[in-house]
Subunit: 371 residues, 2 copies
Amino acid sequence: MTVTTAPCTVQIARIATPEHPFVTEHGAVLPVVEIAFETWGTLSPRRDNVVLIAHALTGNSHVTPHFPGDTPGWWDPMVGPGCPIDTDRYFVICPNILGSCYGSTGPRSIDPQTGHRYNLRFPYITVRDIVAAQARLLDYLGIERLHAVLGGSLGGMQALEWAAMFPQRVERVIPIAVGGRFSDQGIAYNEVQRRAIMLDPAWKNGEYEDGEGPATGLAIARMLGVITYQSDELMTARFNRREEARYTAWPEFLCRYDVEGYLHYQGEKLVRRFDANSYLYLTRAMDSHDLGRGRGGYDAGLARIRARLLGIGISSDILFWPAQVRDLVERLRRLGKDAEYWELDSPNGHDAFLKDFDQIGPVIQEFLDQP
Amino acid sequence: MTVTTAPCTVQIARIATPEHPFVTEHGAVLPVVEIAFETWGTLSPRRDNVVLIAHALTGNSHVTPHFPGDTPGWWDPMVGPGCPIDTDRYFVICPNILGSCYGSTGPRSIDPQTGHRYNLRFPYITVRDIVAAQARLLDYLGIERLHAVLGGSLGGMQALEWAAMFPQRVERVIPIAVGGRFSDQGIAYNEVQRRAIMLDPAWKNGEYEDGEGPATGLAIARMLGVITYQSDELMTARFNRREEARYTAWPEFLCRYDVEGYLHYQGEKLVRRFDANSYLYLTRAMDSHDLGRGRGGYDAGLARIRARLLGIGISSDILFWPAQVRDLVERLRRLGKDAEYWELDSPNGHDAFLKDFDQIGPVIQEFLDQP
C-alpha cells in the first residue's frame, strides 16, 4: 500500500492491491482500491486523538479549508482551530467513501483487469464495505482507535457501522439524522431517483462518456433528494407560492413557481459535480443500512456497540424522521448502553446538520470533549 | 348543449359549443367541452338534495357501482343506499374533471379547429376552470344549489373553490386532506413527477400515439406520487425492509426490496389506465390551488365562503400536512365562518380518505345529515 500526496491536500491511499484485494460484503473482489482522504490537526504521540468524519451521499473529503484561501468545505464552521471539532486538539480525518467520485475507487474507475471503466460491472457495495475500506485506511496510517466517529445521513450510517463492526476501535459515536436501519420510505425515494437516472437515454446502461452522462436524469434525482432534505415549513417560508416570472420554457403551462426554479438550479448544480453511476451505487449502499442484517436481528446488531453514543435527531426531518433516531437511542439504553438523544429543533429538515451550526456545534463539542 | 347517455351509465354533457365556448381563467378559448359524469339516487322535486363528489388526480366519475355486478368504484363503501352518503336521500353526482382522460375534454381530445389532438396545445387549466366546467354542467341539469360538495386532495381543492367561486350555490363543503393553498413542497413533488414524464423519449413533446406513451416516465411519476400518498409508518409496517427475492432485473445491485417491487407495480398499474399529458395538466392544475389568488389575499379568498365547512385532516399525511387543514379551519373561524376541523388518526397517510371508511364515514354522514 502506498500513500501519494495529491495537489490541494487530498491524499490518496491504495488500500487494496492484487496481492491484498478488497472483498466486499457480498463476495466481490476489487483488486485495487484507492481511498482519497484529507486530514487536519496533528496526530498525538499516543495516536489517541483521532476524529473520523464520515460524509454524506454526494459529499467528499473536503470538510473544511486547510489554509486561508483554500476552497470552502462542506462543514466549515464545525471543524478548525477553536471550532466545535477543534483541530488544535483532534486529528481529524475524512475519507471520500468507496463508490464515490471524488478520488476514491468507484464505478467510474478503471477496472485493472479490463482496462475499461467498471460502470455497472462495479460490485454492489454496502455501508459496511465503505467502513471496511476506511478501516484499512486507518490500519495503513497506524491508527488503531478512534476518539470519535461522526456524520450525518449516509455519514451517520457509516458512524454506526464503525461502532458495530469495530466495537474495540471506537470510543464515541455521533450518528446525526439517521437511525439504525434505513426505512422503506427512504429506499422508495432512492429507487425513484435511480429510475430517473436510468430513464435518461444519455445514461446508456452506465456506459456514457465523461461529460455526456445522464444530466437530466441526475438532475431530477437531485430535485427529489433536495425535497426530502428540506421541510414543508422551510419551503413555505422561502417560496410561499411565489411565481417565477422569468421562466418561459413551458409556455403551455404558463406560470411557474420559484420553488421549481430553485429545484432545477439544485439539480443542475449537482450534475456539474457528481457522477450518475456513483449516485446509483451510493443510494444502493444507503438502502443496505441495517445494523441488524446478518447479525441475528436489530437488537443483536445494536448489542455489538461499545462506544458512547450521542444520537442527534432533527425535528423537521422527513427523510430520517426524528422518531427513528430516538428509537435507536432508546433501544441502546434498554440494552444497557451509554446512549443519549438530543433533538435539534429546526425547520431546516434533514439538511439542518449542514446549517444549524450554532445549535449543533456546542452539543457535539461537549460530547467530544467530555473525559 | 346536449346530453348523450353513454354505455355503462356514464353520461356525457357538452357544456361548451362554438357558439358558447368555454373561456379558461387565463383567457384561452375551448370551443367544445364535454364533461363525463355519473349520478346516483333521485333528484328531489325541489332539487335540493344534490351532493357533488369531486375526484382526485387520477380518479374518474365512477364513485360506486350502479347495479349489482357493476365495476367497483373508488369510494364504494361511502356512497349507496344506507351508506354515509345515502343515495336513498341524496342525488349524488360525480363529474370527471376537465383535463382528465375518463371521458371529459382534455389534452388528448381532438381540437375541432385542427382535427388533431390538443396535446400540449391544450390550454393551461386551473382548479377554478375545473369547477367552472362543473358549474356549467349543473346549470344544464337545472341544479342551482348543492346540498354539499366534498372531495379529497385535488377533489378537496375543487370543493373549496366551489364554495369560494359560487358562495350562493353551496350549503356545505367538506375538504378532505387539503388546505386552502397548495404548498411549495407539493408543487415541488409535482414538478419532479412532470420532469420524469417529459424525460421519457416516448413522450415526444406530448405527441405520442395511443398506447405508445411515456410508460416508464409516467410509472416513475406515479411511484413518487404513491410515496407521498402513504406514510413512513405504513411502509414500515407493510415492508419492513423485506427483500424481494424474485427480482433480478438489476443483478449488479443484487438484492432488491419489496417496497420497490410494490412501487413498480403501482407505477405500471397507473400506466394502463391513465394518460401522461393529462397527468401533466392536472398536476399543474393542483399547483394553481390558492383560494387567495386574484382575490386580494388568502383571507379575502376565504371570506367569500358562506357554506358550512368541515375540514378533515389526516394525522400521517405528508403531502397535505394536517396542520394545513387545521390552519384553513382556524382562519375561517377567525373570519366568523361556520367551520370545524376533524382529524382522522390513521397511519395510512394521504390515501387514508380512500381507506379508513369506518372512521371517516360517520363523521361525513353526520355533517351531511344535520339540519
